[in-house]
């Protein structure tokens, strides 16, 4: 496509690293994931990719990293698995040495450095995965990492395919998150995720994962049966630019 996009170690004349941008595009191809946080809890919801047939299991979207930390990913699952292993190791080591949870911001900083290293070395390629990392150290935390090595602290975020509509939804509602009770917070995350669904696709226990962490609860991912608690009563809000249809 461009003369300057074969190596991540080559700048383009416009001052861009094309390989890094292509890596970020890989993230946008993955199924959507949404993260929100209040003062006391952080929630992730993610759309699982339907398996090829009923023979196969789902691709992992959500990784538990620590009793008080977990993440949802979008992009190359194999890259995500390597990152998850690294993060699990770091969390475990910190717990062993300091008898306390690794502060989420510190871990994310380390992951950011790991990402950045791959944008500067010849012969290596950037990680093709974006992560929404949630955790609880002294407060509920929500971070997003990027193949570029940048990381951000968020109140609400969405990544992956068609996630812009989810981000728009979150922008409209984020001011209410801080004091939201947990069930409302999960509902908001599901609503945001529902905006990314193509027409005809609904959030169901079969295709949605919910994960929660908070001061009173360890990181837990809810799939299938366990996710019914929220999904059975979930009704997606009509999309704002569509007319409401009476059924």
């Amino acid at each position: 496509m461009s003369k300057y996009d074969t190596d991540v170690t080559r700048w383009s004349p416009e001052g861009r690293l094309h390989q890094m941008e292509y890596a970020m595009k890989a993230v946008e191809k993955g199924n959507a994931a949404v993260g929100v946080r209040s003062k006391t809890h952080s929630v992730i919801t993610a759309l699982k990719r339907t398996p090829q047939a009923e023979l196969a299991s789902y691709q992992e979207k959500v990784f538990g990293l620590d009793p008080k930390m977990g993440m949802a990913i979008a992009g190359l699952t194999s890259d995500a698995r390597e990152l998850a292993n690294y993060m699990r190791n770091e969390c475990m080591n910190h717990r062993y040495v300091f008898d306390d949870v690794l502060p989420v911001g510190r871990l994310v900083d380390q992951v950011g450095s790991k990402h950045q290293a791959n944008t500067m070395r010849p012969g290596r390629r950037p990680y093709g995965v974006g992560c929404i990392i949630i955790g609880y150290d002294d407060a509920a935390r929500l971070y997003r990492t990027c193949p570029s090595g940048n990381y951000y602290n968020y109140k609400g975020i969405a990544i992956g395919h068609r996630s812009q509509s989810a981000r728009t939804y979150l922008e409209r509602h984020y001011e209410k998150f801080d004091d939201m009770p947990i069930d409302d917070l999960v509902n908001v995350a599901l609503q945001a995720l529902a905006t990314t669904c193509a027409d005809g696709v609904e959030l169901k226990p079969e295709n949605t994962t919910i994960a929660i962490v908070g001061e009173d609860r360890d990181f837990t991912a809810f799939n299938d049966e366990e996710a019914k608690k929220w999904l059975d009563t979930f009704r997606a809000e009509p999309k704002s630019d569509e007319m409401e249809v009476d059924s």
Binding site: F98, D100, G105, R106
Partner: protein, 220 residues
């Protein structure tokens, strides 16, 4: 071979009170009569030492690296809480013992983080560790533990006030001065509360001179 004598520490309702004398002895010589044996780390943790002073200083310099790391990140996160320091120290001490290179000192780690219970832990030169509501190291363990336990056992420390705790510690160090030849009467008390750890100025206490049951001697 400069050594510090015993230290005492107890939890009280608002935090942790830790005390020691200010003497570093060189055998039976009272070499450094005005040394502060309390080391502050981060904003909420204090480590009191007894035993070989050189080994302690070396360990504390190592712990400063943890503080520096926090400073470098400058992200408002601190890994230097009292529980974390205690966990780190016990691993270091045990590792050194395994390498036949022990730090010949006993460390008492105390502190209070806002919103959490006061923390008091103890690590010795072979890597034994414990957390409790009162600790005494060195010979103070033999002289003072009954006094400390009386004041703090069975959750009594939760209703102990700072004044009561100070009285207990002064009494303990008074006993130490009387019974232990390497403890001076010049003591220093460190108070660890939500507001942080602060070590007071050293002051001289009275040693215990009246003993029940001891006949009065008239000297000619």
């Amino acid at each position: 071979m400069c050594t510090g004598a015993g230290t005492v520490a107890i939890k009280y309702n608002e935090g942790v009170l830790m005390a020691s004398d200010t003497l570093i002895s060189y055998g039976s010589m009272k070499k450094f009569p005005n040394m502060k044996r309390a080391f502050h780390l981060g904003s909420n943790t204090c480590v009191l030492t007894s035993g070989l002073f050189a080994d302690t200083k070396f360990l504390m310099d190592d712990l400063r690296d943890l503080e520096l790391e926090d400073m470098q990140y400058n992200d408002g996160v601190h890994v230097t809480g009292p529980k974390s320091i205690h966990a780190y120290l016990k691993l270091v001490m045990y590792q050194k013992r395994n390498d036949f290179n022990p730090s010949l000192c006993t460390l008492t780690v105390g502190g209070k983080e806002p919103g959490k219970e006061p923390f008091l832990g103890w690590v010795d030169s072979v890597g034994s560790f414990a957390t409790d509501s009162c600790f005494a190291s060195g010979l103070a363990h033999h002289f003072c533990m009954p006094l400390l336990c009386d004041a703090t056992d069975n959750g009594k420390w939760k209703s102990l006030t700072r004044e009561q705790a100070t009285t207990v510690l002064k009494e303990c160090l008074g006993v130490m001065h009387t019974r232990h030849t390497s403890t001076s009467a010049r003591i220093q008390i460190t108070d660890c509360t939500d507001a942080g750890c602060s070590t007071g100025e050293p002051f001289v206490i009275d040693s215990i001179t009246q003993f029940k049951g001891q006949a009065q001697q008239d000297y000619l």
